[in-house]
Amino acid sequence: MTTSGVTAVAGADRTRPRGPRRPARPAGTGRRRRLPLRVRLRRDWQLLVMAVPGFVILLVFSYLPIAGNVIAFQDYNPYVGDDPLEAFLRSEWIGFGQFQLLVEDPAFWHAFANTLTITAFQLVFFFPLPIVLAIMLHNLLSSRLRGFIQTVVYLPHFFSWVLVITFFVQMLGGAGLLAQTMRDAGLQPWNIMSNPDTFILLVTAEAVWKDVGWGTIVFLAALSTIDTNLYEAAATDGAGRWRRLWHITLPGLRPVIVLLLILRLGDALSVGFEQFILQRDAVGREAAEVLDTFVYHFSIATGNYGYGAAAGLVKAAIGLCLILAANKVAHKLGERGIYSRP
């Protein structure tokens, strides 16, 4: 093969090189690179055709909106044209005017602060729970019981936010089961669903109910790859339950924990969007306005598109920086991160 540039087997040049799993190519055989475009096109046209539907959908519904962010630099007026494109072409360019307004808008900074507070709170009080639960489940001896519990606790992950909040309203709301029981017992029912002071606890509880089970999957998988011999050796050396947890289990989970932490940090400006939009009016803007709801309420709900786009753009820019920074930290820590250089 190495000496004959042309292979003898008929049709062999129709197979593709294998990428990373291919054994090292002998030096000087850059055969793939030298294939003329026409040949490669004839070989790969079906692959290209396959990519077309996804290509078009991303172009229209991801890339076009990303490019559409430029209306943040306009005084975009949806009524000057018959359709958004015409309105875009006719709207006036105002440079950074929207951003200036935004920076001076206390409501924006309030939403910003709310978002970060909620993220930080959930990082402390939500993030560790799936790890604890996964360790509990992993230590269950009966696989049948474990399977049953997993089946049950994964389920709420598949419920919509409308449904999750419906369940919370039905159980804990003013006309809900808890209030009903308390009234029957002659007590004054608590105000849980619309109390701004405890709202952060409420949204965290909802998030836990929805996703604590689902969050265990990754950790359970990581736990099952830890070598049991390590535990046995440690136990023989006299390490107790907690020392084994500290010195074997947690180090075994470290890569996954770091990865998820980074993903969460990179996503710090997004908290459950639908969750907040649904509850914003019951609880009030003071507690429940986050960046995503701010963008929605100050653009589409009120028709002030340019302003909303500017707010969205600021959020996206900070978010992108956070993701890249978090990933850099991951690489520094020697972890894989969300992407790595090929």
Binding site: V169, R241, I277, Y296
Partner: protein, 307 residues
Amino acid sequence: MSGTAVLKPRPRRGNRPAWEDQPTRAGQLLRAIVLTLLVLGVLFPLWTVLVTSLSSRETIAEAGGFVIVPRGIDTSAYETIFAGGAVTRALWISTQVTVIGTAVALAVTVLAAYSLSRPGSLGYRWLLAYFLLPFLIYPPLVPKYLVVTGLGLKDTIWALILPSAISVFNLVVVRGFFQAIPQELLDSARIDGAGDFRILVRIALPLSKAVVAVIGLFYAVSYWNVWFDALLFIDRNDMYPIQRVLQSYLLAGQAPHTSGATVGTTMPPTEAIKMAVVVLTVAPIVAVYPFVQRHFIKGVLIGAVKG
């Protein structure tokens, strides 16, 4: 529910190994309490809602709103709903969105995933970057709204289907699966003269049934659950998907801003009807989920890790 052990790799089963010390009484008790509360925390609301939806008006009035212990079965709430009206229509719209949407999304995702699973093909690196970049940059809300409106998709089911017809995460998972197929298998088919479409349909897909099932469930659930996109793109009452109707029936007081008047009803829905709407929203998910659940680990994690 199938109580299958989800963890395939190395499940702990059988007896406690000899070297492991017996757990303390208190520890065991604590764990039992936590796990029981957790399971009840999920099952109890489902149970109450189901039982209340199947109770007669009198039973509900007697219990004061919610029924925990069933006393006879009364299906009148469901009969009222299925006699026609906003809920039936919304269920039909949501069914259409879910079925068509899942089919479209699976087709788009599987085709793109296969296309991106062959390193060294024409334009591979460019295409890969093109498909992965949206993972880092979300489509911004306002321009997305303008694009969908500008295309005239408003008040059609396509406004709910097309923008989410490809999820980069799902794409990466399926691609990882395709890449794990032994190259020799594909090469031999290729030498026998099979094109990529034929290889995908005859070889790659049959080997990836588990992952397609899981990804299909993910898409189906997200289409069934679509709510915010409907808030943005669906203004006509008679095009509302079920989540919008659920919201206006049960959370209208929660979010007065986002909900208009109750949808197409003259009377306020009774407690049983409200609960029946919840049950009908949950039912498809609960019905499909156990069949796919055992593939979660196999399908998702392996794909994600390899990807």
